[in-house]
Symmetry: C2
Subunit: 251 residues, 2 copies
Amino acid sequence: MEILWLSAHPEPASLTAHLRREGIRAARALGHTVTESDLYAMGWDPVVTAADYPDHTGRLLVADASHQALATGRIAPEVHAEQEKLLRADALVVQFPLWWYGPPAILKGWFDRVLVKGLGYGTGERYGAGALAGKRALTVVTAGARGTSMAPRGIHGSLTQILWPLLHGTYFYTGMAALEPLLVPSADRIDAEHAGRAAERLASRLATLFTETPLAYRSETGGDYDDDLVLHPHVAPGDVGLEAHDAGARR
Amino acid sequence: MEILWLSAHPEPASLTAHLRREGIRAARALGHTVTESDLYAMGWDPVVTAADYPDHTGRLLVADASHQALATGRIAPEVHAEQEKLLRADALVVQFPLWWYGPPAILKGWFDRVLVKGLGYGTGERYGAGALAGKRALTVVTAGARGTSMAPRGIHGSLTQILWPLLHGTYFYTGMAALEPLLVPSADRIDAEHAGRAAERLASRLATLFTETPLAYRSETGGDYDDDLVLHPHVAPGDVGLEAHDAGARR
């Protein structure tokens, strides 16, 4: 299978870079083809501007301008190249250090620029269906926090809660299956032995990349939401947490 | 009082820009002093690199290098300038269009670059205390979604849930009081009348900027968390949602 490995860390000697190299080696050993987008190494510019859409004139409506650019193929070449890589992939691995409880800006802006209207949204289908349906996405996060504090009822929130905009709002929105994210905690205090163990945990997740059960987010058209896109009262009754949207969440 | 108005939209004729101008006018009419960081207009670079810390050598550990750079004052001048603006402010207004359920990359990278170790984290205090304690933060978001769908049990999650990394993980983490965010929904279909009404809603929130009750997130040291930073069983018992961390949430 084809994997697009997206990663973002400024330091080639970082734990993130180490896990990337080990992970890609493990994925290839499993027989997969891996394409890389190492955003810092590429000098990726994460800022959406009118220059992404060379035919655009007048007031910039990002959705409309990007839709038009996608349709005509007249879009910034580096954006087009990433779209092609994404469309070829069967799975996306997204790997980053958690900065302010989200991806570094360089990675956020990969989604901002690449997932234009007509590809990421505005296709008439979303949340469980869309242009990227059939693909899977695994998130691999290093964080300074201890594991206990980044769990349900931990002070930082669980990683699945923290990454809701990515897992539900991006992967699942565009049709991809969101896998349970992999957390490598205490990343600032990690020694060679812990790094080795983290690489093993990553390798074992890669071994089940195409077989494990994704998060069971409720599809938009599966009957759980009403016409206002609010959960019917009988679905996860009384639950106002994000967990209400996950049919597999413990409650 | 002093307000730092942080905003991110590539189009000067956008609804975001309109609300920024109207909001700043309203804040000044209330007697406040407003400083602007209009990130697109400034050409802000959101990417953390080693160049932010000119004295850094060898392997880049972002936390250590940024801590050192803050202590010596040898830090990229544009980062220093934003830190000074932030430290002078009594309140931060953060205004953006919701892209992939988060801030545009250019804005995410303002926090990544400006909130270095020693200012944003690593001060020995966090979650209700820290270097930015005493300041307030109001978030103003335009979104294409309808309001019903961006509410508790709405398919997108409530704005407070979606923005958890910003409200709790950034504002509250650094000591700031996080105010209930202001949502301007259906932003792609808005006409002049709706834009006027949105500006009025913004003006009315600005009128209470320094008096309204912030979100009641639980402080790290207030006795609600145990030594592993997990909520004690008797606090919001059985609640595994992010709402458990907000003493004022309905449940």
